[in-house]
Symmetry: C2
Subunit: 243 residues, 2 copies
């Protein structure tokens, strides 16, 4: 009797459910807190049960990345290569922002799974379809590198200082002293930070517009690609802009 109840209660695990659970667990607790044991707990199962569905943790991560790739839009048809690439990269970026663990997952591994290869292949195809030479396409794929995934190293992201949200924590004199020290030690950084939003005294203000920065670099690269393509660039000649 209890057997029957328990039998119906549990739909058997499968790879799909494991990956799905892993993704949402990672979404919730972050990459470094995603452990096999914790995932098992989430699935109401003993840790080793997971290993009936994925070979090991690395394969789990590969599966998660594959599922992420599934969220990226396919190439938009009927567009020039440039806007097609642009749209797709931005779609990848959106997927990455939905799943903050993905950047670390991608960086932590040398990705040669079929899903990754397929994505890279399809990505490569956008340039070839746009009339790029195989040669130029090759280098262009290297150049776009991490941006293909929709992320860049975030350099400045969340500055050390407290935001305007918690003004009580540090007395204004101390803040001013800190600022002076910063400005003395890192004048250039401070110059940029203060220029970013000079409205109030908030030194390292609301942070940067990540999206703007990302598109800035992306478009810079795309423009460069375009220029090279138009001039019929070939690697046998020279690197892009050496004088």
């Amino acid at each position: 009797m209890t057997q029957q109840l328990e039998a119906t209660r549990r739909t058997p695990l499968n790879r799909e459910r494991v990956l799905q659970a892993a993704v949402s667990l990672a979404d919730a607790v972050g990459f470094e807190s995603l452990s096999m044991r914790r995932l098992a707990e989430e699935l109401g199962v003993v840790p080793m049960a997971i290993y009936k569905h994925v070979a090991n943790k690395d394969e789990l991560l590969d599966g998660m990345v594959a599922s992420l790739i599934g969220e990226i839009d396919p190439p938009a048809p009927g567009q020039g290569w440039k806007s097609a690439v642009r749209l797709r990269v931005l779609s990848a970026r959106q997927a990455l922002q939905r799943h903050p663990w993905a950047r670390q997952a991608i960086e932590s591994r040398t990705n040669k799974t079929p899903a990754v290869l397929a994505y890279m292949d399809s990505f490569t195809g956008m340039f070839l379809a746009g009339g790029f030479s195989v040669d130029l396409t090759h280098h262009v794929m290297h150049a776009i590198g991490g941006r293909m995934w929709g992320f860049t190293q975030e350099l400045f992201d969340a500055p050390a200082g407290p935001t305007a949200a918690s003004p009580a924590e540090i007395p204004p004199e101390a803040r001013a002293a800190m600022l002076e020290q910063m400005a003395a030690r890192y004048p250039n950084i401070v110059a940029i930070a203060t220029s970013m939003n000079h409205e109030e005294g908030s030194v390292v203000g609301h942070g940067c517009d990540d999206q703007f920065e990302f598109e800035f670099a992306l478009d810079l690269l795309l423009d460069g690609f375009e220029r090279l393509h138009e001039q019929g660039w070939s690697s046998t000649r020279a690197t892009p802009g050496r004088t």
Copy 2:
């Protein structure tokens, strides 16, 4: 008596020696095999002894990154901004190639240590000294992102297939079949791979010239920066190349 011998035998540990040992241990065994316990062993000391000199493993890694930064050349004087930046990035790249663990160390952490700030600040200063507006400098720093450290996501680096070094492992028919499968599934990747070195049948041949690829992207960005700078670009107008 034994006391005296043992007293002379051991020069006491200090932060410098710990960091130095950590760096060369990581050089030898790789980032993921660098553990406090192993480092202690290398130093002939019990694991907890290390904690008298660094607060924890994160601080150890920060220290290692700082020591790496020390290996990067300072800005070359008497040059235009462009070649100064170029030289410095390539110097950073060399440092990173001497210490393969560094990429992971940098990626794994949100770097706000004084050493990192100082490097970024000095880097920023190269653009400002070149007459860049603070605005443009800001975005340019974002765009150059990871490349500031001398690395890019390596996409293609060591392909799955065996290299020419181990020809015995896989019989030629099997190789040919694999190639056909690859070509069917990932035609664009294979197109690039085969064009890279069409000498023999080595499909995913000797790999790419990392250095060339790196400089390709770097120069593309630098050229873009230059163009924007010359036209007096400002972020209030538009992103670089949108039509």
